[in-house]
Symmetry: C2
Subunit: 329 residues, 2 copies
């Protein structure tokens, strides 16, 4: 904790203690196209590799107030129990930035992600919290510093500071000051994303634990950094050229490679459920028939599909249950 | 073909043309514990790595006769069409060993593998054919030479020449004369194998094509040889010590690694179906509950499970649909 706190004190050196009555900020959910998979520093959430994401139009909106006596958190209109892991994780992050040890917050946070979409909200959540803290305390931090700060809450939160396509450069420094998101100057209005839900009855292990076990035990993990580097290069090239077929192949292979490293961990980690495999086969079969549609997956059983606006009707006929979520690109 | 024929002429140098009226031989199906995955020589079926298998009690029985005018093949009581890939593949193999170009065979072959088990019969088929040819022509070949000859029909057939645990040493020679099976002096009567069928409606690509595409396009394939070497070493050690937990972990990881290389091929190759994933999760869940049960898979959707005789009732209660096939170990 001291190391994290020391880094935060360098990021926000001008804290005066003056606060607004309240401050509100929004941050988007982001979907990784080249995945963040493996930490070189677990405490500071410093990644082994760069990663690339695109922001969605949905995310988290958070409003901050000062409170007396104790921290209070409301999530989507309901109070969050102090004993919950969510409460613990947020207040531990707040410990890093309180102007004095006794300073307490009231946090009102709202995820406009459809609950059924099963999208992780920790990235948008910590990004929105960071952005609202910046306003609340009038830090006027740079986007890079905000990204570094959000990363200390949740690694991929550093990408949710920005809209559009975002590169999280891994950085080389031990203190992580160069490990933050960078907004990329690409726009691709024709790009569409849909979510295919796989209902899980079993609770899978957390992505953080899955990442750790994979790094420690998968015989395939050693090759991940070089795979990612190649996939990322292709993705950046195709964001330039808008070659959707190569773009899609690269992001799909990247996701499958991440899952391959999990499948070969000891014990194996397999987020794929029966529906997952069904969706993947449907995507691949449609592609064999000529439809340009590609899949990506995170540390969970749902499948995200990417396609072009011109194919939307075709894709909807294949996947009537698809939940389309507009990109914020 | 000339290169294959030249090698065969060195393997069977003493052909006199004298034949028996008929000759019959049996060869077992074998299940790879450390997989054959990737060829260093496609024409001679020379592998990139060693592999390890165990023989089943079921297999192929083949009887040979000389015939006039044309080759005739009967499979499980029915004539095989000349135009079928099966007929073509067998007669091309026979072309390598005919004492004269006009010599024709009648081949009566029977697979006692339950059809529903979906076990590949090309390995036991080419091994039984090779063994029956050896008797028919009274070549009196060594087991190693028979194994090399069978390999020219189908790579893994070289392991089906032997019962029990068999190591296929990859060999180093360009002509493959040192690439053959070796019977290992291990016995493990407590070891049991069951097959869990996944019904496939789609026709997957052949294992041979899957292997080729994986070697050529998977970013993970480069690490396969070193993974296999480690898994094989552990399997050989545990065949000695009978540490079933380590034995099972190694063979399962080996199979999952092979499938991981396929999943990351371009385009992806995924033999997993919905039932496959269901079976795998059931195996892993049972193992978390303390049951020593491990899965292996070949280039298809079925799951083979390995367990000890003492757990058979427990395993049967989990998988009432399991087809147990005795090992020939």
């Amino acid at each position: 904790m001291n190391r994290r706190k020391e880094i935060v004190s360098r990021l926000i050196p001008h804290t005066t203690g003056a606060v607004l009555d309240s401050a509100t900020a929004f941050a988007p959910v982001n979907i990784a196209l080249a995945k963040y998979w493996g930490k070189r520093d677990i405490e500071l959430h410093l990644p082994v590799t760069d990663s690339l994401s695109v922001a969605l139009s949905v995310g988290t909106t958070t409003t901050l107030y000062q409170n007396t006596h104790q921290d209070v958190i409301e999530l989507n209109g309901s109070p969050v129990a102090e004993s919950s892991p969510f409460f613990q994780r947020l207040t531990q992050f707040l410990d890093l930035v309180r102007p004095s040890p006794s300073f307490r917050f009231r946090i009102v946070t709202h995820n406009d992600v459809p609950t059924a979409a099963g999208l992780a909200s920790s990235a948008s959540g910590f990004a929105a919290l960071t952005l609202s803290l910046n306003r609340f305390f009038q830090w006027n931090l740079s986007a890079e510093s905000l990204s570094c700060l959000a990363r200390l809450g949740s690694g991929s939160a550093c990408r949710s500071i920005f809209p559009g396509f975002v590169l999280w450069q891994k950085g080389d420094r031990d203190d992580g000051m160069d490990s933050h998101g960078i907004a990329l100057p690409f726009s691709w209005p024709e790009l569409k994303l849909g979510i295919l839900m796989a209902s899980s009855t079993e609770k899978p292990i957390s992505s953080s634990l899955a990442m750790k076990r994979t790094v420690e035990t998968s015989p395939l993990y050693s090759i991940w950094p070089s795979v990612l580097e190649k996939d990322l290069r292709e993705l950046l090239e195709t964001l330039e050229t808008k070659d959707f077929s190569r773009f899609g192949s690269s992001l799909e292979r990247n996701a499958l490679t991440m899952h391959a490293t999990m499948h070969t961990a000891s014990p194996p980690i397999c987020y794929w459920l029966e529906e997952t495999v069904h969706y993947l086969h449907t995507v691949w079969h449609a592609r064999e028939q000529g439809l340009q549609i590609f899949a990506t997956m995170d540390a969970g059983p749902n499948v995200k599909i990417l396609f072009l606006a011109s194919d939307e009707l075709h894709v909807r006929s294949l996947f009537p249950q698809m939940m389309e979520i507009p990109l914020r690109s």
